[in-house]
């Protein structure tokens, strides 16, 4: 069998899901026999490639760069997995949504509590603009499988990955669906 072309992406999240992925420990060695990592924050690859079999997306959709990335990811991936609570629900990054817009957050972070030089960073094309509402990824693109948890445990990630390796992404069930 050809290697499965696997990508992992880090949007608005804390990278905890990626850390949990690394907790797969020796299963990573088995996995390395079967998959080729074609894009990941832990690999030095600059552009999201074409023809990806499976993409794990960590993180919520929090800025305009995430919107561009997701469109590209969807176009180039056969299976997209919402990886962790931020991708599945918006989770902690979405706690600013009740404030209505990004401005109160930016003001608080960059002006009110700044020691020096209080100003909101803005540099068109360099610093992505925050969206007013943080959203789960299925709000933006079609998602094929949901892998909740903050972070999902290594065992839960393994359960999902094994489904993919078996070619049967039927989805998780029972206690593997618990958020948090």
């Amino acid at each position: 069998m050809d290697h499965i072309r696997l990508a992992t992406v880090w949007l608005g999240g804390c990278s905890g899901c990626h850390m949990s992925f690394l907790d797969l420990d020796e299963f990573l060695i088995d996995l390395a026999m079967k998959v080729e990592v074609v894009y990941s924050p832990i690999a030095d690859i600059k552009t999201f490639p074409e023809n990806v079999d499976v993409t794990l997306v960590e993180g919520a959709v929090a800025n305009d760069e995430h919107l561009h990335q997701l469109a590209l990811i969807r176009r180039n991936s056969r299976i997209v997995i919402a990886f962790g609570d931020c991708a599945v629900t918006g989770n902690v990054p979405s706690m600013r949504n009740p404030l209505g817009s990004a401005l109160p957050v930016l003001n608080r972070s960059y002006k009110e509590i700044a020691d020096i030089n209080p100003q909101i960073p803005s540099n068109d094309g360099i610093v992505p603009t925050l969206l007013d509402q943080v959203r789960p990824i299925h709000d933006i693109i079609k998602v094929d499988m949901f892998l909740p948890g903050c972070p999902p445990s290594a065992a839960r990630i393994r359960a999902a990955v094994e489904q993919l390796l078996a070619g049967q992404a039927t989805g998780l069930s029972g206690s593997d669906l618990r958020f948090g």
């Binding site: 919402a82 609570d85 599945v88 629900t89 918006g90 989770n91 902690v92 979405s94 706690m95 949504n97 009740p98 404030l99 509402q133 789960p136 299925h138 709000d139 998602v143 949901f146 909740p148 903050c150 989805g171 998780l172 069930s173 029972g174 206690s175 669906l177 618990r178 958020f179 948090g180």
Partner: protein, 238 residues
């Protein structure tokens, strides 16, 4: 004590006439998802999770407030009911701000458990993300409206078991909120006896003991049962 015979999920069942469909089903080992129902409190049929199909009645009926009847035929788990239950749970998640990862009830929450029971892997509805208050004015307890599902268990525990009726609900629709006294801060409530029965009753992370942090809020719900049994049967047993 009259006995009624009915059919639940193709199973022939005998029940006492004062029993509800929910009680009869449970005795027969058939589980129906519930949220607002709590043993010892009056049933109000508020959450609609326990809806069942009753042959001959076009509308779905809440099992917790429907009495058994002779010859009744009940279905508790059709595909249609499963679809509705998942919708209800998703709508509850979408209506307030449920961030399980940072919630005091994470891992001990009846709403989370329901998510698993109905197979909810994500919420299909748009999150409303309302602005909700957290009231920490009481010296021992707190209420976080972000997590409230308006099951009114606190209202009933406080009214029916403690007899204080500190809690009630004000507003309509998505603007409804549980309140203490006449919407005063809980800590200034003159009727609250600080007994903590609402803390025992709350199914989610909405009412909690102060000082609990993420996942720490576990409840000894048997204590409510204990009090109710003592009152009803005059026996201090569990």
């Amino acid at each position: 004590m009259a006995v009624k015979t009915l059919t639940i999920d193709d199973q022939l069942i005998s029940a006492r006439e004062e029993q509800t469909v929910l009680e009869a089903a449970r005795e027969a080992g058939i589980s129906i998802p519930t949220l607002c129902e709590l043993h010892g409190l009056g049933d109000i049929g508020a959450c609609r999770l326990c809806l069942v199909e009753v042959t001959g009645i076009a509308k779905l009926q809440p099992a917790c407030t429907t009495r058994v009847a002779e010859g009744m035929v009940v279905v508790t788990n059709s595909q249609r009911l499963q679809n509705y239950r998942r919708m209800i749970v998703e709508l509850l998640f979408a209506e307030r701000n449920h961030i399980c990862a940072v919630c005091v009830a994470n891992g001990h929450c009846e709403l989370q458990d329901l998510g698993l029971a109905v197979g909810m892997d994500h919420v299909r509805y748009e999150y409303l993300s309302p602005q909700c208050q957290v009231d920490l004015s009481h010296e021992r307890f707190g209420v976080d409206h972000n997590r409230c599902v308006l099951c009114m268990r606190c209202v009933r525990a406080c009214d029916e078991i403690e007899g204080a009726h500190t809690w009630d609900v004000m507003g309509r629709g998505t603007a409804s909120r549980v309140i203490t006294d006449l919407k005063q801060p809980w800590g200034e409530s003159q009727s609250c006896t600080s007994c903590g029965k609402c803390v025992l009753a709350c199914p989610t992370g909405a009412i909690f003991r102060r000082g609990s942090t993420v996942s720490e809020m576990e409840r000894d719900r048997w204590q409510l049962d204990f009090i109710v049994t003592a009152r009803e049967k005059k026996q201090w047993i569990i």
